[in-house]
């Protein structure tokens, strides 16, 4: 069994919830997507494979996946929520184009280290962070 599914199962059990076929299918599909996705993406991909899961179930499952640390909501300008799975993915930050909504992922080791330093300076224990650069992407500027 894959770590993501194990994690999810443990999380659900700890909350007295169940790992149903639908939740399993949704998780499996999400783990196949490397990059951002929307609710509709999952729905269409599953439907294309004749896997029967309603959009409602996807909407209801996503918060559970976020809560269990497998999936993250990513920042966005648009109305539609975007997500990405986060297991086995190194941490990265985001640039969001305020014009077209494009999201560029990047990561910078030195920035991470400076954040740690800033934390120390204020005796603040950093448990997580989120850096978003907003601006114009190459095509929109």
């Amino acid at each position: 069994m894959k770590p993501a599914e194990q994690l999810f199962r443990d999380y659900l059990k700890s909350k007295g919830l169940r790992l149903t076929r639908e939740r399993e299918e949704i998780l499996k599909e999400i783990m196949k997507i490397h990059g951002h996705f929307e609710v509709e993406d999952i729905y269409l991909r599953l439907r294309r494979k004749k896997v029967k899961v309603s959009q409602t179930s996807i909407y209801r499952t996503l918060p559970l996946l976020v809560e269990s640390g497998i999936v993250q909501k990513t920042p966005c300008d648009r109305m539609k929520a975007r997500y990405e799975h986060v297991l086995g993915h190194r941490h990265h930050d985001h640039m969001v184009c305020i014009k077209c909504g494009r999201i560029i992922e990047f990561s910078n080791e030195r920035i991470e280290r400076l954040q740690e330093e800033a934390g120390k300076k204020y005796r603040f224990e950093i448990l997580g962070h989120r850096l978003v650069l907003s601006g114009l992407c190459e095509e929109c500027r």
Copy 2:
């Protein structure tokens, strides 16, 4: 006349648009808010002062303010769009204690420079950024 209003007037003129009473009131109110805001915030604040402006007008004015560089859309998780005015603000970042909610403002010149570098690497024009460290403050750890 304040620079923001001048900027806006120039922008509008360049597009053949007009600086109406409504647009002026909206801009004035936005410039008073130091931090982020939502459409409804502006609406309620104006209404409380008996200034008559419809939500529709706010929705229609915000893109103009963004386009003219006075206001920025800030990335967000929620459904509601959030904005902030961007003129004449020194930038700072935040540490948020997840236990007591305390917010520590800090700024770090070297982090800013590294961000600029990262932007250049992707040919991304950075107009704003937002760094949030979440964790435990001195007293809560």
